[in-house]
């Protein structure tokens, strides 16, 4: 599975991506969080296993961000590799998301 989801009791959700983070994950990625309606939930996207990310993936993160905002929660991106981090910084997404090493 390229997308792995874990939910904690507090309502926080961790989504782990492996291999290529691109358009093919569109539906599964959305399914991973769409049913989580906990107010103030934190959504963590673990990119440690992602070797590649494209603009569709950036779009998917924006959709997640919108979902989190509606719940009054936030999105944290964790452990991106060098090359994936570069995609995020070139797009200046570090202004929109907290990125944790």
């Amino acid at each position: 599975m390229s997308v792995n989801v874990e939910s904690t009791a507090g309502g926080d959700v961790t989504i782990k991506i492996t291999d290529k983070f691109d358009f093919s994950l569109h539906r599964i990625f959305r399914d991973a969080y769409k049913d989580c309606k906990s107010s103030g939930a934190t959504f963590s996207v673990d990119l440690s296993g992602a070797e590649y990310m494209d603009s569709s993936a950036l779009g998917m993160l924006l959709l997640l961000r919108e979902h989190a905002e509606l719940l009054g929660g936030d999105v944290v991106i964790t452990r991106p590799s060098e090359s994936v981090k570069k995609v995020l910084t070139v797009a200046n997404f570090d202004r929109l998301f907290t990125i944790k090493a």
Binding site: S56, L63, E66, T89, V90, A91, N92
Partner: protein, 570 residues
Amino acid sequence: MGSHSKALVVDDEATNRLLLRSILTKSGFEVVEAEHGAQAVDLFQDESPDIVFMDAMMPVMDGFEATTVIKSLCGDYFVPVIFLTALTDKESLARCIEAGGDDFLTKPISSTLLRAKIRALERIRDLQHEVRSLYDHMRHDEEIGQKIFDQLVQGHGYGIEKIRHHLVPASLFSGDMLLLEKSPSGDLNILLADFTGHGLSAALCAMPAADAFRELTKKGFSPEQILSHINSKLYSTLPRGMFMALQFVSLNVSIDRILVANCGMPDIYIVDGETRAIKQEIKSGGLPLGVVKSFDISQAIHYLSLSLGDRIILASDGVTEAEGPAGDFYGEERYLKAITESAGREFVVDSVVESVQNFCQEQAQRDDVSIVEIPFNQELMDLTGLERETVNARSGDRLAQDEQDIYAFELNMRFNGKMLSKSDPVPMFIGQIREVVELGDERAALYTVMTEMYLNALDHGVLKMDSGLKNSAQGFASYYEERERLLQALNSGYIDILVKVGQSARFASIEIRVEDSGVGFNVGSVSPEIKADEGLSRRGIPLLYELCDSVRYNEHGNVVDAVYRWALDG
């Protein structure tokens, strides 16, 4: 299948064929028979059956060979082939599938099992038809979309033939777009955009952006205003998650302004025309457009000082992310190498394209590849700023003021402090003037005059900057950094613009007064003579003198009056 379906039965034994005929006819099939593989192939072509029942061992041509041939004749259409064979060993049965067969039954044939297998294959065939039909529709839509896209978006790129470019989409549609447009004051605006994803959805997003870019450039808005507007438009038009990364260049030689902006794309490179060394890199400085409702675009904008011959290289990430046969990426290092090693070749673009193609070889292209080379040469510069004819025509004899000019219209606006950092009032003024008098060919010159007056008032009057700083290489960069810093911090000062428009029977006349809150400058230091060509025709204030009928500064140099008149056609 069932009624109205045709079955081809292939078996060298008549009794087997008869048995099968009776089972199939009861299910509503029309049946045709062949005695061996070669006959089966002929009949398949003549009769176009919907399903084939194939014996394995036959003389002349066996079932395996016949199936291979028949399947290759099928093309896009799915015609099921069921092997009916006395062979029971696993290898032979597997071979049936390898030869192209879709299923098999061992003899003696059970009619129940046969009907069950036919039903399963029907489902697969229906599915295949649906997929093919959807695909045909999709292709059809894409082709229509592409024609419209080409017309609206790519259709009219002003000056595009002067700019070397290589744009290759990954599929029928490119999500990358190259636009060129000229503003009334002579700005040449160039936009290379990369939309999320690629294909039809990316191209659809391109249309509102292309529209806004064209329209706003033609109305004379400044680069900051244009990009800001496109951002708002895309934010409200596009679905969340769709956005536009861009590299933008604006050139105007008459007012000495070259700027680039990079929002979310790879580095823009400024390359020396001769040595092809990289002189400057402009990194992405802002979010792609359409992501947030509004943001301060000025952080992503950089003013440049270029030497004649320099090249500006724009490229989308399709270049660095091009995939090679080993699954690795072309990458930034190879890209830089291809640029610097292009010395000796006329165009940097050609060197990079060749290098990418050699690296990728036969590998399918994953993303749209776009690379653009903007040469800062005389030929391109002639496309920006005012056309020489306009300036030459205006520099001639001044119109005699032998008639009372009747001023029909006066417009006065004052911009204070903070407002100055937010907007460029020139398009607004020109818009109002056009309501009163037909500008026609005068528009370009008038835009230039007003923009020049406004920028001088802003930079040297209100912000109190010394343009001498711009003349050194280090000074240039720090000039604009300082300018940006001062603009952001600005909350005092003003610029007051008064425009009087009038016309008599034969002439139209516009008086422009710009007053700023600054302490002025040494009026005597500005010579009306055009300075000998400094390599790139940097004009500034001398151009004002050329274009206007008169230009007068007050004692302090913080008020400038310009009169611009022209003869009306018969």
